[in-house]
Symmetry: C2
Subunit: 219 residues, 2 copies
DNA sequence: GTCTATAACCGGATAGAC
DNA sequence: GTCTATCCGGTTATAGAC
C-alpha cells in the first residue's frame, strides 16, 4: 500500500480510536477494531505504536489539547447588553446543547477519565484532562464577566471549578435519565447560584449583590 | 465440596464481584477473577448464573437496593437547633466523608453506571440506580427541613435532583484531583445555594428568604 | 514499510466424570 | 452438585515474506 508518514498514521489511528470509543466505548476500542476503523492492517498499528497503552496515552493527550467544550456565552454582537446571570445561563445552554447534540462524545469523555483513573500510571492524564476543563471554564467565566461589565468576587479558579462540577453533575444525570426539563432546571439553578458571585464592575456593587435574588429567572 | 444453596452461592458471587470491581474495576471483573475471589470453581458460577450478564444485573440490583449513601445531616440530639444551611452542609459533609473513606467504592458506582449505559439492554438499570439516589436524596432533604423547622419552596423532587447533581460533580472532581479544600468549598457552595430554596415553616417566610445572603457561611 | 500468518494468552461458556 | 478439562472466539503482540 501507499506509504504514510508515521506521524500521520499515528494521528489517523488516534482519530479512528476516538470514533470507536464514542460509538462503542473504551472497552470496545481493541487494536483490531481501531485498525479496522482506520482501514489499516494490525501490523501497521504496531509499526507506529509500541502498544495499545501508548495509543491510549496519545489519545487522551489529543482529546485534552483539542478539547473545545464550549461554555462561552452565545454572543450576538447586535444584541442588547445582557446581565451576568443571562450570560452564564447562555454559556451553560451552549454547553448543554453540545451534550445533547452528541451524547456519545460526552459519554466517551467520562469513560476516558475513568479509564485513566483506573489504569496504573495513567491517573495523571485524568488530572491533565480536568486541568484543561478548568482552563476552558476559567476563560468562559472571564469572558462572561467582561461581556457584562461584571467582576467575580471570588477567585476565578474557584468559579471555574464550580462550573465544571455543575456541568459534570448535570451531564451525568442527563446521560442516565435523558430528562431535558430537569437538566434545564439544574442549569437555571447553576446560573442563579454562580451569578451570586459576580457584581457590577463599578463601585455600587455591594448593595446589588446583597439584594440579588437567587431565585430570579427560575421558571 | 460442601453443598451451598443456590441463593447463597449467588449472593456470595455478587459480593465477590463487588470486591473485585471496587479493587480493580468493572473490566477486571471476569468470571475467573470473581470465582477466584469467592473461592469457587468456574463451573459453580455457571451452575447458579446463566451468564456473566445475569450476575451483573443482579449485582446492580443489589447495589441499588442496599445503597445507603448517607446524605442525612449528622444529628446530635443534645445539640442546639441548627439552621437549614447548617443541616444541609452537615449532610453533604457526611456524604463526602464517606467518599473519602472509601474512594474505590465511589469509583465503582460511577463505573457501574457507565457500564450499564453502554451495555445493550442495561440502560434501565442505570436509571433505577439513579432513581434510588434521588429517593435517598429526597429523604435527606425532607429530614433536613423537618429538623430545622423549614419548608422547601420548590418541589422536593427538584431539590433531590440538585443534591445528586451536586454530589456527583463534587465526587468526580475529587476522584480526579483529590483536592480536599476545593471539594469543601464546592460543598459550601452547594449548601448555600440549596438553602436559598428553604424558608422557615412559619408565616414570616418571604422576607427571610428575600434577604438571605447566599454568600453567608462561605469561608 | 506493509502485508499475512501465527504465537501466546485470556475471555465466557460447556461437557462429562464423579 | 461440584469438579476438571476443554472448546472456541477474541485479545495483544510479533515473525517473517515481499
Amino acid at each position: 500500500m501507499t506509504r504514510i508518514p508515521p506521524a500521520d498514521r499515528r494521528a489517523a489511528l488516534v482519530q479512528a480510536a476516538l470514533r470507536v470509543i464514542a460509538r462503542d466505548g473504551v472497552t470496545a476500542a481493541t487494536t483490531r477494531r481501531i485498525v479496522g476503523e482506520a482501514g489499516m492492517s494490525l501490523a501497521s498499528f504496531h509499526y507506529v505504536f509500541e502498544s495499545r497503552d501508548e495509543l491510549m496515552a496519545e489519545l487522551v493527550n489529543a482529546v485534552v489539547s483539542s478539547e473545545q467544550t464550549d461554555l462561552e456565552p452565545a454572543l450576538d454582537a447586535s444584541r442588547a447588553p445582557i446581565g451576568i446571570r443571562a450570560a452564564i445561563r447562555s454559556g451553560l445552554q451552549h454547553y448543554f446543547d453540545g451534550v445533547r447534540a452528541d451524547p456519545d462524545r460526552e459519554k466517551a469523555m467520562f469513560e476516558l477519565t475513568q479509564w485513566a483513573l483506573r489504569e496504573p500510571g495513567f491517573a495523571p492524564l485524568a488530572g491533565r484532562q480536568y486541568d484543561r476543563y478548568y482552563e476552558l471554564a476559567e476563560r468562559a467565566a472571564r469572558d462572561a464577566a467582561a461581556l457584562t461589565g461584571s467582576v467575580w468576587n471570588r477567585p476565578i479558579a474557584e468559579i471555574a471549578r464550580l462550573l465544571v462540577t455543575l456541568t459534570d453533575g448535570v451531564t451525568i444525570a442527563w446521560l442516565v435519565t435523558r430528562d431535558d426539563a430537569a437538566a434545564e432546571r439544574a442549569l437555571d439553578f447553576a446560573a442563579d447560584a454562580l451569578a451570586a458571585f459576580a457584581e457590577p464592575a463599578d463601585g455600587g456593587a455591594a448593595v446589588g449583590s446583597l439584594l440579588h435574588n437567587p431565585n430570579a429567572g427560575i421558571r
